[in-house]
């Protein structure tokens, strides 16, 4: 009972800290908006109205949007609008930022999800084998693979893969989400495989290292010796005993890595013309479409805080020994 209370208090405190951090981030983003060149009033009016409107109309709009008020009040208005889903309008296409982002979020989640799954599929076997066969050739090979995964830039790997798999052997498509005319799951998966594989490989290195060190510390514990003394073979020890305990720290690392996976997806989407948020963000940056960039920044901030919160929760739920200070 006392433990549950402690846990509740801990989670509540983490939640409050995260909210405070989020407030600070919105201040930072708002300050960036202010630093951005251009007139903010034009970001908040649909362009067709902007072109037909007179100077008096814009002045009225400026007053209505509170842009003639103090910076503090302006921040409050901006936050109020953002919370209600009004992030302004794209300076390029004139569409609302919320609708632009929401139609791009699905493809990005697909890419991130499959990419993450593939990275775990690479990292778990290699990490476990490296831990069990510690300091052997297999372990060194796994280290080289994991260093390669963090060292080789994803965009270069993507170009190599396009060169080999698309151009030389014509196995997989290299751009977009679907073939014109074709449809269905198979077609989507064929388009998804290459980008997701590159994204997954890039993220597998750190996972592999965490799994390896987590497994090594578990393999050294007394219960493993007991299990071995009772006649459990190496496979049974790993599958039935150590893996479960080694999983806890690894799960939190996976949760914390989500923003990084999104960062990787930005580059991958650009190279493979995958119609997701990252591609939108890069093209908005190139066209200096500030309102869209800021909407993207807000989504990143939310993802960072959510993944932190999930990691905190996993930590407290999975391991009661966690210090509840």
């Amino acid at each position: 009972m006392e433990h549950l209370q402690l846990m509740g208090a801990y989670i509540l405190r983490r939640l409050l800290i995260n909210l405070l951090v989020f407030a600070l981030i919105t201040v930072a983003i708002f300050m960036l908006v202010h630093a951005a060149p251009g007139d903010p009033v034009k970001m908040m009016i649909p362009p067709d109205q902007l072109n037909s409107g007179s100077a008096a109309f814009i002045a009225a709009k400026r007053h209505e949007l509170g842009l003639d008020q103090s910076v503090f009040l302006q921040y409050w208005h901006w936050l109020d609008n953002a919370v209600h889903g009004n992030l302004g309008y794209s300076l390029v296409s004139g569409r609302s930022v919320t609708s632009l982002l929401s139609e791009r979020i699905g493809p990005t989640i697909e890419l991130m999800g499959v990419g993450l799954a593939l990275s775990l599929l690479i990292a778990f076997p290699l990490g476990i084998i490296a831990a069990v066969r510690r300091n052997t050739a297999v372990d060194y090979a796994a280290t080289v693979v994991s260093l390669g995964s963090v060292s080789i830039p994803a965009f270069f790997l993507a170009l190599l893969a396009i060169y080999v798999l698309t151009l030389r052997f014509q196995l997989l498509p290299s751009a977009g989400m679907s073939t014109p005319g074709a449809s269905g799951l198979i077609d989507l998966l064929r388009h998804l495989l290459l980008p997701a594989l590159i994204l997954g490989f890039g993220n597998s290195g750190p996972f592999m290292r965490y799994i390896r060190s987590s497994m090594i510390s578990e393999l050294g514990s007394d219960y493993v010796r007991t299990a071995e003394a009772k006649g459990a073979g190496p496979i049974r020890v790993v599958v039935r005993h150590t893996l479960r305990n080694a999983l806890i720290p690894v799960l939190t690392i996976i949760a914390l890595s989500l923003p990084g996976v999104l960062a990787g997806a930005v580059v991958i989407e650009k190279v493979f013309a995958w119609p997701g948020m990252g591609q939108l963000a890069v093209s908005s940056v190139q066209q200096q479409d500030y309102s869209v960039i800021i909407g993207f920044a807000l989504i990143i901030a939310i993802l960072v805080l959510l993944s932190n919160l999930v990691a905190d929760l996993l930590y407290t739920v999975a391991d009661p020994r966690v210090r509840l200070r």
Partner: protein, 292 residues
């Protein structure tokens, strides 16, 4: 064994020598030092080695394949690719080292202050470190470059700003363990302030592990610079960078039939970052005897 040998023996086993010996045992790290040396020499002597200017445009020889005159051919405005490759090394190495240095300085100062002063200073610095670490620096830099415009200075500052927490946490840990040591307590008892403690005791003790973190930071910064420049948000042409040399290679025609335009710069980033990471790995083994 003569008396002279015995007198000399302890000097041979100094920690630094032992560390060098452990580093040399890491064969890939030693090879990496050689590879990095080649890259550095190429970057420093870019002019004399290539014999071409990296920015001279020759519209009569666009996208020419490798020849005796142009070892790696020419790019889409007729500039010598080999020369651009070598000059780009300067930018990449410069950005990498500068960003890692900024991170080390911020991290060492904040980390040792947090460890020495404790209390709310410690709390604030560590929370700040958490916040900076939880943001993916690539995305933050994309947003910042989008709003303030791409610039090498902003990029270096931003990379450094997002890398300091690793070093900061490390230095704080070293400081906390040093604080309990008798010689540091003695130093404090006779009136040493934070700056003296930092310069005399903390920095020398933290230097070996910090060198590992700094090396890995250089590798990360080179990779980030290449990625940002590839996206068109980092180093701007005509100044060459390994990243922006690859920007051209986004059409299938270039990828298929002009590999000299994208393969060399891509390999250069991959090999350089790998080499620096392997050196960092070797340094870690050398600095931390428990690992080997």
């Amino acid at each position: 064994m003569t008396a002279v040998d015995i007198a000399v023996a302890p000097a041979r086993r100094s920690p630094a020598r032992l560390a060098v010996r452990r580093f040399v045992r890491h064969r890939i790290a030693v090879v990496s030092v050689g590879v990095l040396l080649v890259v550095v020499i190429g970057a420093v002597f870019a002019g004399p080695i290539s014999g071409h200017s990296p920015t001279t445009i020759d519209l009569f020889h666009i996208r020419a394949s490798p020849s005796e005159k142009h070892w790696l051919g020419t790019d889409s405005t007729g500039r010598d690719v080999f020369s651009r490759l070598l000059y780009a090394g300067r930018v990449s190495l410069g950005v990498g080292v500068a960003a890692a240095l900024i991170a080390v300085v911020i991290g060492t100062v904040l980390g040792s202050l947090a460890g020495l002063l404790g209390g709310w200073v410690d709390q604030t610095v560590m929370r700040l470190a958490d916040i900076f670490l939880s943001f993916p620096s690539l995305v933050v830099m994309i947003v910042v470059a989008g709003i303030l415009g791409p610039s090498v200075i902003t990029m270096v500052l931003a990379i450094g700003l997002f890398q300091w927490p690793t070093c900061g946490r490390l230095v704080r840990g070293v400081t906390l363990s040093l604080r309990e040591q008798e010689y540091v307590q003695a130093s404090r008892a006779v009136g040493a302030g934070p700056v003296w403690l930092m310069a005399r005791h903390i920095i020398p003790a933290a230097l070996p592990p910090v060198s590992v973190v700094a090396t890995l930071g250089v590798a990360q910064a080179i990779g980030l610079e290449a990625t940002l420049s590839f996206l068109g948000l980092g180093v701007q042409p005509p100044q060459p960078s390994w990243g922006n040399m690859l920007t051209d290679a986004q059409s299938l025609t270039v990828i298929r039939s002009m590999p000299w335009l994208w393969l060399p710069p891509g390999l250069a980033v991959a090999i350089t970052v790998l080499a620096v990471n392997f050196i960092g790995d070797g340094l870690r083994d050398a600095v931390d005897p428990r690992r080997s």
